[in-house]
Amino acid sequence: MYLKASIKQSNIPSMTEKELLIQYRSTGDLDLLGKLYAPYMSLLYGVCFKYLHDAEKSQDAVMQIFEELIRKLRIHEVDNFKSWLYTFSKNFCLMQLRKEKGTQYVDIDEQVAVGHDYLDESDPKEWSESQFEKLEMCMLTLKPEQERCIRLFYLEQKCYKDIVALTGIEMNKVKSYIQNGKRNLKICMESK
């Protein structure tokens, strides 16, 4: 129910979002770009803060990204604005970090993994019996902590906090077990 509501929410603006993109590309009207950008600013601020670790730097980064878009979006035809914007902004922040070298906080392992997630907006397919069997097989190839967290999260639908309480594993570890476990599972399911 909840999920459905959120999908509806994001689909309707994306219709007009596409129109805004096309119109901006042909007219260069900043007002349009502002309308396109404003809804993402708060999320972007969070993203920037994750990498830059500083409130003012993050605010500046959000504005600098907007400056970049003014030109970029007149040249490039962007299909999925949200994921394009995310990738662009993340790269912007990483470049910023590289500029002021010595203050690197980025976990490379996680960075590599995250980039691919947008590629499969998998529609729920019907699963055959053999696939469930394969899934079970793959579950066994995971590290025990990963398997446990994955089961609790996806099968029992526990939130991170519950999993922390149940297992005594730290919150951050729970998250990365689920993230990495999910990735490993996918790799395993797609092999053979």
């Binding site: 042909s26 009207d29 502002g34 809804p39 708060s42 969070g46 997630d117």
Partner: protein
């Protein structure tokens, strides 16, 4: 507590499409029930954008609405800037006169091109923009650089640049750091990323003759327009004139 949250939600919903933000706020502040937490966590696993944003706000230990409405104001200002310079340009008499003359020439030119193409049975639509917003100099002050600002305000400063800039054939973005001396003049101007020498000189000239400032130091982005965008990048459509039409 309850009314505070309500107020928060109200303010947030005033900002466009920010319902994800209120969820992040509630999540980090422990105001969600377990199912809601699970849902958000699950969505975040599929959506790295959301995931990063949550991690950022968690690192910051919460959502600060004041910061975000400040950001919104900065964006508004940035967007309005170009609109106001556009209006200012349209409504002075001189400009109007020049503009109408240009418009006449423009119409004649278009008619000429149109008929030329029409005669050889090849009609094309041609879109040419006389003054699009990105053909204006734009400035963006950066908070990280300090608190300096022009005494007459940012818009006035921007209009000053617009009126007095002499370099017209170069575009680009320049980032500069500077300090303000006790007379309100900018000193110790430093440029980032080694910009074009001509633009650099032009900026130093403009700053030297420009209005006074207050504050101690500052950092600015000045974006010079690219007067002729066709040279900078090739659009995939329009500008059919360039094709040969013998």
């Amino acid at each position: 507590m309850g009314s505070e949250i309500l107020k928060f939600v109200w303010r947030v919903s005033k900002m466009e499409n920010n319902y994800q933000l209120s969820r992040i706020h509630n999540y980090i502040s422990g105001l969600m029930n377990k199912e809601e937490m699970f849902q958000l966590e699950k969505e975040a696993l599929e959506d790295p954008f959301l995931q990063d944003a949550i991690e950022g706000y968690r690192l910051q230990k919460g959502v600060d609405v004041r910061q975000l409405s400040l950001l919104q104001q900065r964006l508004n200002r940035r967007v309005e800037q170009t609109i106001s310079t556009r209006n200012a340009q349209f409504y002075t008499w001189q400009r109007l006169a020049v503009g109408s003359a240009a418009a006449v020439i423009f119409v004649v030119l278009i008619a000429f091109i149109y008929f030329k193409n029409f005669n050889i049975n090849k009609s094309r639509t041609t879109e040419v923009e006389l003054s699009s917003p990105e053909n204006k100099i734009a400035i963006e002050p950066l908070l990280t650089g300090g608190d300096a600002s022009p005494i007459e305000g940012w818009n006035a400063f921007e209009q000053y640049l617009q009126r007095n800039v002499q370099v017209r054939d170069l575009g680009g973005k320049i980032i500069l750091n500077f300090e303000v001396d006790k007379n309100g003049k900018l000193i110790n101007v430093n440029f980032e990323d080694a910009p074009n020498e001509v633009l650099k000189k032009e900026i130093l000239r403009l700053i030297d003759k420009g209005p006074k400032w207050h504050g101690k130091k500052g950092k600015l982005i000045i974006s010079f327009p690219i007067e002729n965008p066709t040279q900078a990048f090739k659009p995939t459509h329009c500008f059919g004139i360039e094709e040969k039409s013998n």
